[in-house]
């Protein structure tokens, strides 16, 4: 059960007020007419699914109804930071494989 800090309401609320909306920071294609089927497929269906640090979009559906981002560990479920849409995360995964 998550206790989530909404950066718009500036307070902690229970998970049930929120809804997870999947991966954050998915840019729309800059030139849609030039996209191949593969690029469209990846934009539509392929999502980061890491076991570890994940940036995700949440909506405070039963509260202010605004979107914001969470950086969360998908293995331990620990919420590492909460930040507004348009901001950059300060906690990022170490991409070295």
């Amino acid at each position: 059960m998550f206790h989530i800090y909404c950066p718009h309401c500036c307070e902690y609320r229970e998970e049930e007020e929120f809804h997870a909306s999947g991966q954050a920071h998915i840019p729309r294609p800059l030139d849609p007419d030039a996209c191949t089927d593969k690029e469209w497929g990846e934009f539509m269906y392929f999502r980061a699914n890491p076991r570890g640090i994940h940036h995700e979009l949440w909506v405070h559906g039963a509260g202010c109804r605004k979107y914001f981002n969470i950086t969360r560990n998908t293995h331990t479920y620990e919420i590492l930071e909460v930040y507004k849409v348009g901001e950059k995360p300060s906690v990022v995964a170490n991409e070295a494989k």
Binding site: E15, M44, F46, N49, R51, E56, T74
Partner: protein, 417 residues
């Protein structure tokens, strides 16, 4: 292999059941195999079994990081049905259903497959239209199915609240008489025993840390415990961890891993002799032979690898069950757990070649993989043996997300999520 029979049981009773053979070996892996299967769950073990039995490929290893059948095979609600809407999915699940029907005899292992029927309830006019469409599609595909009205549902499950006082009154249901439940652990153990007997090495407690890829071709796997193990072909059947393995292969899969929870009650006397599912109030239940109610929930909305979910999801599930079965309102729940399900955008699996040569993936079964265990294993084994995808697996290529040929079973197939 020691043959199991009633006579054998009697014979061993004279020696206090102390002389049964070990069911499978615990071998040290060889340096090289024809096929390595990563993941020793139901689907992986079934793949190994059919590879050895049907396709004569016995130089096979199954590599499992924990113990056999300890992931989602041990965590599901054991429901088996094949009433899917679209031809591609219906054929695949019906292929599995036909294998289920002879599985205990085939394996000489009682998987306790009980064809007690499955009801998918309809609570709205749209539900009923969808049910009619799906049952008609099923029948055209040779899959049994009937559309029932509320009165007929009541006759099958007297304890179900079919009154018009319910918050979401039951208007009817689809009914698949051949559907049912099976003993989940026995399925894994039966396949493991059958595979081991035919020479497959089952390597437990061994985590695959990397895939060895040379010139775009997979040539083996790297493990911490036994070093490199080489193979001509590698099949990954690792459910929730598929994305992690795909990343080792240098590509991505259109999967998201979510926690899916289930729970069982204390054992009670026989009261529910079929499977009841409802998409609308979002819960499903059956009763095991031991007497406990086996109850399933929806997935938790966030990505998670933790094999646990949120309490609110359990609460919503219990609300749904009590809504359907007011008589269960005072039954106490015994245990609750979560598995990691790898969900696909179209709620259908991926049984596919990959951008890496000789590397195959069988994943994306999401919330409903158990029912497909024998069928999934069979078509994946055929594909691994021949190096070419089985006709039933072809529509489930991972490249369908590039060309748009999705098999959209979301909400269409009585998929309860």
């Amino acid at each position: 292999m020691q043959h199991y029979s009633g006579f054998g049981l009697l014979k061993h009773s004279f020696s206090h059941h102390e002389n049964w053979q070990r069911v499978w070996r615990n071998p040290t892996p060889k340096k090289k195999y024809d096929v390595i299967i990563v993941g020793g769950g139901g689907h992986g073990l079934a793949t190994a079994y059919y590879l050895a039995k049907e396709f004569g490929v016995t130089n096979v290893a199954v590599i499992e990081k924990g113990f056999l059948g300890g992931g989602n095979t041990a965590r599901n609600t054991t429901i088996v049905r094949s009433n899917y809407l679209w031809d591609e999915a219906a054929h695949l699940y019906e292929h599995a259903m036909k294998l289920w029907e002879g599985l205990s005899q085939d394996l000489n292992y009682n998987v306790m497959f009980s064809q007690r029927g499955c009801l998918n309830l309809g609570h709205t006019l749209q539900d009923m239209r969808d049910i009619q469409r799906r049952v008609n599609a099923n029948r055209l595909n040779g899959i049994d199915g009937e559309v029932l009205d509320a009165q007929q549902v009541k006759e099958i499950v007297p304890v179900l609240d079919c009154s018009d006082r319910a918050r979401y009154p039951v208007m009817g249901a689809s009914w698949q008489p051949r559907a049912g439940v099976a003993r989940h652990d026995a399925v894994a153990w039966g396949f493991a025993r059958g595979a081991d007997t035919r020479g497959v090495d089952l390597i437990q407690q061994t985590e695959v840390e990397d895939l060895i890829i040379e010139d775009g071709t997979v040539v083996g796997v790297r493990t911490a415990r036994y070093g490199d193990i080489r193979a001509d072909r590698v099949g990954c059947v690792v459910a929730g961890n598929s994305s992690v393995l795909a990343k080792m292969g240098g590509f991505e899969l259109p999967l998201e891993s979510h926690p899916l929870q289930a729970l069982v009650s204390e054992p009670i006397k026989p009261i529910l002799d079929t499977v009841v599912m409802s998409n609308q109030v979002h819960g499903y239940a059956s009763q095991s032979d031991k007497g406990d109610l086996v109850i399933g929930a929806g997935i938790d909305g966030y990505n998670g690898y933790g094999q646990r979910g949120s309490y609110s999801t359990i609460e919503h599930t219990i609300q749904a069950i009590v809504e359907m079965f007011p008589v269960f309102s005072r039954v106490r729940m015994n245990r609750q757990w979560g598995g990691i399900v790898d969900t696909c955008p179209d709620a259908c699996p991926i049984i596919s070649e990959t951008p890496v040569k000789n590397l195959y993936f069988n994943c994306g079964w999401g919330t409903g993989g158990f029912k497909a265990t024998p069928g999934s294993g069979h078509v994946f084994a055929a594909s691994l043996a021949k190096g070419e995808m089985h006709p039933l697996a072809k529509p489930f290529s991972m490249f369908r997300f590039h060309n748009g040929a999705l098999v959209d079973e979301h909400g269409a197939a009585g998929v309860a999520h």
